[in-house]
């Protein structure tokens, strides 16, 4: 919380927290000359945390009595493996590691939401960065990067398993089909529109679901932070200041505890839907 004399207004505070640390201000909705340093930094950091710790566990893993961390890693691997076995009936070396990566990485993304909202930005200000957004999954770029990669894999596997003809016929010959060739010709565009929307909605819904949940979660934390925004430490001289502090602590705690469920659930949903989509790409209809 900033000191009372230079406290930002609520709007300034929230805008500050919703703006990325990027090389320049973006022009329009899509601008590929802009890059969000904070998102890249934290996602790479978390990738290193995940990859490094799991690699270490895999390196030092023994088939004998496992240590605590190895136990945890094995639990994760087994959990993901079971999920994959349940939903995916093909054989693929990629799906299970992909699911594990998504689950852990997204979970770590989301977990950054439980770090107090002002802690890391304050540290950043200390080293001269004017702003910092620490939760990669509140960046559409990060969630879309995940879902687009999954989408590319869906297309790739669909083409590989069904061939170009199979893939196109899947997009055009259902849900409506008839034996009548003429009627079928009329139904093809209808089918194509319906199926294309379904098909394209997958990556969009996948990424927007994650983004929306985490964005909303972060927003709640920001709103709770507003309770003591204007007062700072100076506000503790008034009853209202104390009440605000108390309210922020209790509500923040309650939301954080609830959020543990949300971040895990969102990571899980992302993983399961990825498995399901890739499984559908493998199956013939």
């Amino acid at each position: 919380m900033a000191a009372a004399e230079n406290a930002p207004s609520a709007t300034e505070y929230i805008l500050h927290h919703l703006t990325f640390l990027s090389n320049k201000a973006p022009q329009g909705i899509v601008d590929f000359s802009v890059i969000n340093y904070d998102t890249v930094f934290f996602s790479v950091l978390l990738a290193v945390v995940f990859g490094g710790s799991f690699y270490l566990a895999a390196r030092t893993a023994t088939a004998g009595v496992p240590g605590k961390f190895q136990n945890f890693v094995e639990m994760m691997v087994e959990f993901v493996d079971n999920q994959v076995r349940d939903s995916f009936h093909g054989t693929s070396k990629l799906i299970a590691p992909l699911a594990l990566t998504i689950f852990c990485w997204v979970f770590l993304f989301n977990f950054m939401d439980l770090v107090p909202v002002d802690l890391l930005p304050a540290v950043a200000r200390g080293i001269g960065l004017e702003r910092l957004k620490v939760v990669p999954s509140t960046d559409l770029n990060a969630t879309f990067a995940l879902s687009l990669t999954v989408f590319i894999l869906i297309v790739y596997y669909s083409l590989r398993m069904k061939g170009m003809v199979g893939f196109i016929s899947e997009l055009t010959l259902q849900p409506f089909n008839t034996k009548n060739v003429f009627a079928q010709a009329l139904l093809v565009p209808v089918n194509f529109i319906l199926e294309s929307v379904t098909f394209l909605a997958r990556p969009v819904s996948l990424s927007l679901r994650l983004f929306g949940n985490l964005y909303a979660g972060e927003m709640i934390f920001l709103l709770l932070a507003l309770l003591t925004l204007s007062s700072g430490f100076g506000g503790l001289t008034t009853v209202g200041g104390w009440l605000g502090l108390l309210a922020q602590m209790i509500l923040g705690l309650a939301w954080a505890i609830f959020h543990i469920l949300v971040i895990t659930l969102q990571a899980f949903i992302f993983m399961v839907l990825t498995i399901v989509y890739l499984s559908m790409a493998h199956e013939h209809h």
Partner: protein, 156 residues
Amino acid sequence: MNINLTLIVQMIVFAVLVWFTMTFVWPLILGMMEERSRRIAQGLAAAEQGQQELAQARERADAIVREARERAHQIIDQAQHRANDLVEQAKGAASTEGQRLVAAAHQQIELEATRARESLRREVGQIAVIAASKLLGREIDARTHADLISKLATEI
């Protein structure tokens, strides 16, 4: 909120991370877990086998103990038989020896008695001769009357 270069960078990072997990993490951990299940299965099988062997060994041990007990009984029986035999033999030998000794003593007594009878007879003969010569008042020639004397002696 906009779409920018971060998207591309994130996709690359994601792809690399998935590749890394696929290559260096997943196979190692899964392989290790399979290896462990194999080991556990082996261990269970070995335990099963060990128990079976233990049961067999117990049976064998029981059989050996039973056999040893029987053998011991046999040996004791034999020893008792042998002891009885020895006692019987000793008894037989002792009674034979006793009988022999008794017989020998009887013989000896018989012999002594005979000898005493002979000498008595002889002495009686002589006494008779002396008595007779006293009665007759003259010397009886022992040689001439030897027949008579011995005849007398035998009659005593």
